[in-house]
Amino acid sequence: MKVLIIEDEAELRETLKGSLVKEDYIVETAGDFRSAMDKVSVYDYDCILLDIMLPGGSGLQVLDLLKQEGKSDNVIIISAKDSLDDKLRGLELGADDYLTKPFHIAELNARIKAVLRRKQRDGKNTLAMGNLLLDLNDRNLSIAGEPVALNRKEFDILNYFLLNKNRLVSKSALAEHVWGDNTDQADNLDFIYSQIKNLRKKFLTKQANVDFEAVYGIGYKLVEK
């Protein structure tokens, strides 16, 4: 899988690259408008992360070029501007998604996976890890072939962790993703613990070979035992 990061801020670009390399993607980067145009016109990428404000031009122009070549559907716009106009224009030009900075790495991973999965077009829409199999179409889980009942929240949580295998999922990233917590009062995220506990109980009774690992009070990691 080849991913291109178009981002002028070097620090952010390198951090994102580091994270995506961990996911075993082949990562290329562009730091300005010119090199971005060069790269997208010559190579094909499975996913492109595109910043809108670039030195030398606008990311929307890059998107325009991609759209003309019918390749704009794998673009995720990453912008510091949470403006509705930009969002609408970006999506109009065929971008798949719009992520406002700052974002959690876990959220970016989830969005990239969503883009990549749509590209596979093999009809299969499942996530697997160890003996876990999560069917995203039917919204059900089976452990070692046996069905396990999940409520809506549990399904969303597990889905998020499976998009971030072996990666840190912070509690605030999870709260935002699952509980839509985009407001300011998340001063108590301890309730997430009880949700993880419930899932863990289900893993134990069905003898799953994956487990949640607490990460220094920030969040959890889903790992294979």
Partner: protein
């Protein structure tokens, strides 16, 4: 004191002074004119009497003022030669119809001398005079009537003048009172030809425009600053997230990173809230759509159920009626969600949140700290009832900003040990 009353006060006092002065002068002139008139008459009488007496053979002394209003007595020559015409005011007993007995009345008396066939006589002629006290009394009453008439007409003229001339000013004042910087679209204005009012309007308009510019700059500054913070914050958060994933981290280091990460995330939330506030105030959300408040509340309560269960809080929703509103759906969500979250987070273990939807209001009541909060402050930015809270202190300020945008009313009160937040939808 109103301008009209103030004017009246000064005008009536000065009118009183002017009239008093005028009536004194008028009285003196009158008196003078009356004297002149009487003296001329006396002079005339004198000539007639002397002519009359000259035709007679001898002048018989007439020592009392009788029907003729004069008396004559003989005097020595030396005295007569020295004598000149003397006019004087004096008093005499007189009786008229309505007097039971003679009364002293003021008279004007001319004393003079004449010669008749070698004899010298003194002649005194009287003429009745106006009574000064009567004159003063009559003058006083007429002046009083004049004064009252003047004051009444001043009041009436004032009323008309104020209604006509000053009405643009009162209209302007009314608009100015209602004017809110950054919230009112129309600047106060008046339709007038009066130069002073035009100048006032110009001065006020300039002042408002200047203030609006500053207000706009400040708003833009907050917006720009928040935007500029987004990228550095993104670098910080993502680097820390990567760092905490590093293999072989010592738990002490990891905990330190975790703390920084948590703090950075607080910063992100704060920044996002500030951006949101700026956007609300810049009216960047106006994709109004009709939505059901009941459905909205039900969805949000469902979303927050896990948090409530964790804190052992019971959420009760009482829907008296179906309440539909027209507003931006994301703002509606933020508004209701912030209120309910607020009720959850500032609650006690095993507490309650009661949500009531009425015909035109949404009430969120929760148990929490004892005693009422400062109702004036509770919606202010960065107000925190509990200093240790990790919230941004902007949640309710955002609710208020959304309410202002749509003309809803939001209020807080404390009743029966519950903190009650009420959203009123006047147009619903």
């Amino acid at each position: 004191m109103k301008l009209a009353n103030q004017t009246l006060k000064y005008l009536s006092v000065s009118v009183l002074v002017v009239i008093a002065l005028w009536s004194t002068i008028f009285y003196l002139f009158m008196l003078e004119a009356i004297h002149d008139n009487i003296d001329e008459e006396l002079e005339n009488q004198k000539r007639l009497i002397i002519q009359e007496l000259a035709s007679e053979a001898i002048v018989s002394p007439d020592l009392e003022f009788g029907i003729n209003n004069y008396k004559v007595r003989e005097i020595p020559e030396q005295q007569a030669i020295k004598m000149q015409n003397v006019y004087k005011d004096t008093m005499l007993y007189k009786q008229d119809d309505d007097d039971p007995e003679p009364e002293l009345e003021p008279v004007r008396m001319l004393t003079t001398a004449f010669e008749h066939k070698g004899h010298y006589y003194e002649l005194s002629i009287i003429n009745s005079m106006i009574e000064e006290s009567d004159l003063i009394k009559n003058l006083f009453y007429s002046v009083l009537i004049l004064f009252v008439l003047l004051v009444v007409s001043i009041v009436l003229i004032n009323k008309v003048v104020i209604e006509r001339l000053w009405s643009p000013l009162y209209y302007f004042l009314d608009q100015l009172t209602k004017f809110r910087l950054g919230k009112s679209d129309d600047k106060p204005s008046m339709d007038t030809n009066i130069v002073e009012f035009k100048d006032l309007q110009l001065a006020v308009t300039t002042l408002i425009r200047h203030n609006e510019e500053i207000y706009e700059q400040q708003k833009q500054f907050i917006g720009n600053a928040s935007h500029e913070l987004q990228t550095p914050l993104a670098i910080m958060i993502n680097k820390l997230e990567m760092m905490v994933e590093t293999e072989g981290l010592q738990s002490e280091q990891a905990n330190a990173i975790a703390e920084v990460l948590n703090t950075a995330e607080r910063l992100v939330r704060l920044n996002k809230s500030l951006l949101l506030l700026t956007k609300i105030e810049n009216r960047q959300f106006l994709n109004n759509e009709d939505l059901s408040l009941n459905t909205l509340v039900t969805n949000i309560v469902e979303e927050l159920e896990d948090m409530a269960t964790f804190k052992n809080i019971t959420i009760q929703v009482q829907q008296q009626l179906e309440l539909n509103l027209s507003l931006d759906s994301s703002l509606a969500n933020i508004m209701v969600s912030n209120l309910i979250r607020n009720a959850l987070f500032h609650n006690i273990e095993g507490g309650e949140v009661d949500i009531t939807i009425t015909e035109n209001a949404l009430l969120v009541a929760n148990t929490g700290v004892e005693g009422p909060l400062d109702a004036e402050q509770v919606f202010s930015r960065f107000y925190k009832s509990d200093a240790s809270s990790k919230g941004t202190g902007l949640g309710l300020a955002i609710v208020q900003a959304i309410c202002h945008l749509y003309g809803f009313e939001v209020s807080y009160h404390y009743d029966q040990s519950k903190h009650i937040f009420k959203l009123n939808f006047p147009s619903a």
